[in-house]
């Protein structure tokens, strides 16, 4: 039988029959009510986010309004601001200031180092070079965080490769001069704040590069040309066009670097001085000291700081170009 004959005998219907069965019924239902499908897809993650994630955060917040009985070591479940008052004791305030300063410096240094790399990747790298860029940025993230930190401890140690290299270059005096400085110095880089800083920047740098690169990627190349065409020198183009348009990316990256530094307790424990950072304070308060309320109050500090930071960034117009 020819195809022609088949068609003339049974003309094709204008409406095709449904595929039938439960699957067919669901397909039709989802098509007719797309919001139902959306709700179904969002339900599990929203439950996770709402109950497990936000819920535990609220539980933590509540803990911070309790206090600890200093004699019995038991938690007194009465609303009080006393624990928050404890944060302002000189020792605790030092911890907060030290951590915030470190986080700010790490963020600033990451942004300065990340920008040229991200700029190159977004505007010049193509094909194989772009793949190499992503590999180069992501590769360090594939290896264990602890391994990297211990590797850095060896690099920065007095017997380490950095000291050896500087000695070969006859620049040891420079390192010694730096290490003899107060606060940033120490016996060797691996037991100084400078070492902590270097390792923080190393570990968090990818989290700055990627969002900045994504932001720069969205800046059309002809905006740079237009700026130049209108008489702006490269420096002016950077200040007036590139930087403002990359700012959302820099802010996104700085949220990572800033909050990750605020919360980290492993790097300063392995590399640096014996002075505590917020993360270490939380760790010791909820662990050995058993002071859960104070630990909770310490964790609220980064949340509040990030809140102010985002508010300030928004007021500065960091998200205007989004």
């Amino acid at each position: 039988m020819s195809l022609d004959a088949a068609i003339s005998r049974a003309p094709a219907p204008a409406i095709l029959p449904g595929s039938g069965g439960l699957r067919g019924a669901f397909s039709d239902l989802f098509w007719r009510r797309p919001k139902f499908l959306l709700a179904l897809m969002l339900l599990p993650p929203l439950l996770w986010l709402g109950i497990v994630y936000i819920g535990s955060l609220i539980a933590l917040l509540l803990q911070s309004f309790f206090s600890i009985d200093e004699f019995s070591g038991l938690i007194n479940r009465q609303f009080t601001l006393k624990t928050y008052g404890d944060l302002f004791q000189p020792a605790n305030l030092d911890i907060i200031l030290r951590t915030v300063t470190m986080a700010a410096l790490v963020t600033f240094a990451s942004a300065v180092i990340a920008f040229p790399i991200a700029y190159y990747a977004a505007r010049y790298a193509r094909g194989r070079w772009k793949a190499l860029f992503y590999l180069g940025v992501m590769l360090p993230l594939w290896s264990s965080y602890l391994v990297k930190i211990y590797a850095w401890k060896l690099i920065l140690a007095k017997e380490g490769i950095l000291t050896w290299l500087l000695a070969k270059l006859n620049l040891l005096w420079l390192l010694d001069a730096w290490l003899s400085l107060p606060i940033v110095g120490g016996n060797s880089l691996s037991v100084s704040f400078t070492g902590t800083f270097i390792v923080f920047v190393y570990v968090w740098l990818p989290f700055m590069i990627l969002p900045v690169q994504a932001a720069l990627e969205r800046v059309p190349g002809n905006l740079v040309e237009a700026s130049s065409d209108l008489g702006a020198s490269p420096g002016q183009t950077f200040r007036n066009v590139l930087f403002p348009l990359a700012l959302p990316g820099i802010v996104a990256g700085s949220i990572f670097t800033f909050s990750l530094t605020l919360g980290d307790y492993i790097i300063p424990q392995i590399i640096g001085t014996s002075r505590l950072f917020i993360g270490q304070a939380v760790y010791s308060q909820q662990g050995t000291a058993g002071n859960i309320p104070l630990a909770a109050a310490f964790t609220v500090v980064p949340i509040v700081i990030m809140g102010f930071y985002l508010w300030g960034a928004k007021r500065m117009g960091a998200f205007d170009a989004l």
Binding site: P220, N222, L223, A226, L230, G231, N240, L245
Partner: protein, 332 residues
């Protein structure tokens, strides 16, 4: 008189691609100059060479008598209206227009006043507070124009600025650009692939193909007296006639060009002329375009609408005035 823009044997090669190949060009101060050609013909690269975004591989460029090779875009008193406008998304319209003055260090009050005036010039007064994203395509186009004009450039470059607009708006903008250019007396260099646009707006047109200029002349020159098959075909889709055919009418063995509107079509019985067959009609409103087959040679004729036409497939007789047959320079 010094030329506004002068190209002397300018080439721009990208690897093995000769985007612009040994181009000579003189643009007269105050004229509206169009660069016309298909995409990839080198016209935009020429514009970018004037703007300074590209540097010539060989040859020399001067702008108002001053050598421009190696001079960065920001030191050229030349401004560009970009194809997709390239307005700064993070600045409002007024700051966009004032940008050029801002980077030159003009005080805030003065530059905003100048920007407001430039917006009035393009008939967008009071739009300063909006963001580029809130404007329509036609409005963005005007903002881009104001942003360039506020700097009072020696040469204004326009890179297919009307390409993204719909037909009606495009026709309005053509008239407006033309009158603006007349009023301001600034040299306009306009890149387009639309021959109608080039013919209707420009004082002179350069037709580009394969990185070379095929012909430079007034729109009338280009349209009536194309010098090559390419120009005849590209500008107004002329009938390109092979040398053997041309010889029958002019006695010269050369390529010829015959405008579709110069061909008269009558029914086959009457008089002498070129015998042909009507193979298709295309209704265009004011005119009708006829596709004809004259013994294997495909021809087009344009006749006024409403004229009685033979049926498709019928034999017809084609006649034309000898003087409307233009002989081209291109060797046979």
């Amino acid at each position: 008189m010094t030329s506004a823009v002068s190209f002397n044997q300018v080439s721009r090669h990208f690897g093995s691609v000769r985007a612009v190949d040994a181009v000579d060009l003189e643009i007269v101060p105050g004229e509206f100059f169009a660069m016309l050609g298909p995409s990839g013909s080198g016209k935009t690269t020429c514009l970018r060479l004037i703007a300074g975004f590209e540097q010539p591989t060989a040859g020399s460029i001067s702008i108002f008598g001053e050598r421009a090779e190696g001079v960065p875009p920001y030191r050229r008193n030349v401004n560009t209206v970009f194809q997709d406008y390239a307005l700064f998304p993070h600045l409002n319209v007024l700051d966009n227009v004032a940008y050029g003055l801002m980077v030159k260090g003009v005080g805030k009050a003065e530059r905003l006043k100048a920007a407001e005036e430039a917006l009035s010039l393009v008939r967008l007064p009071g739009y300063g507070a909006r963001r580029p994203g809130q404007l329509s395509g036609g409005q963005r186009q005007r903002v881009a124009l104001a942003r360039a004009l506020v700097n009072q450039p020696k040469v204004l470059l326009l890179d297919e600025p009307l390409g993204a607009l719909d037909l009606k708006l495009r026709e309005n903008m053509q008239e407006e650009l033309k009158s603006l250019q007349k009023a301001l007396g600034i040299t306009f260099v306009f890149v387009t692939h639309d021959q109608g646009e080039a013919l209707s707006m420009a004082d002179r047109v350069a037709v580009f193909n394969d990185g070379r200029i095929m012909q430079v002349g007034t729109p009338e020159d280009i349209y009536q007296r194309p010098n090559t098959r390419f120009v005849a075909d590209f500008v107004g889709s002329s009938n390109v006639l092979p040398p053997d055919f041309v010889q029958r009418f002019s006695g010269q063995h050369r390529w010829g060009s015959l405008r579709p509107e110069s061909i008269r079509v009558s029914s086959a019985a009457s008089g002498d002329g070129v015998a042909a067959r009507l193979i298709g009609t295309n209704y265009l409103g004011a005119t009708t375009r006829l596709a004809l087959d004259a013994d294997g040679l495909r021809l087009h004729a344009v006749v006024p609408a409403g004229m009685a036409l033979p049926a498709e497939g019928e034999a017809v007789m084609l006649t034309f005035n000898r003087e409307s047959l233009h002989l081209m320079d291109e060797p046979a």
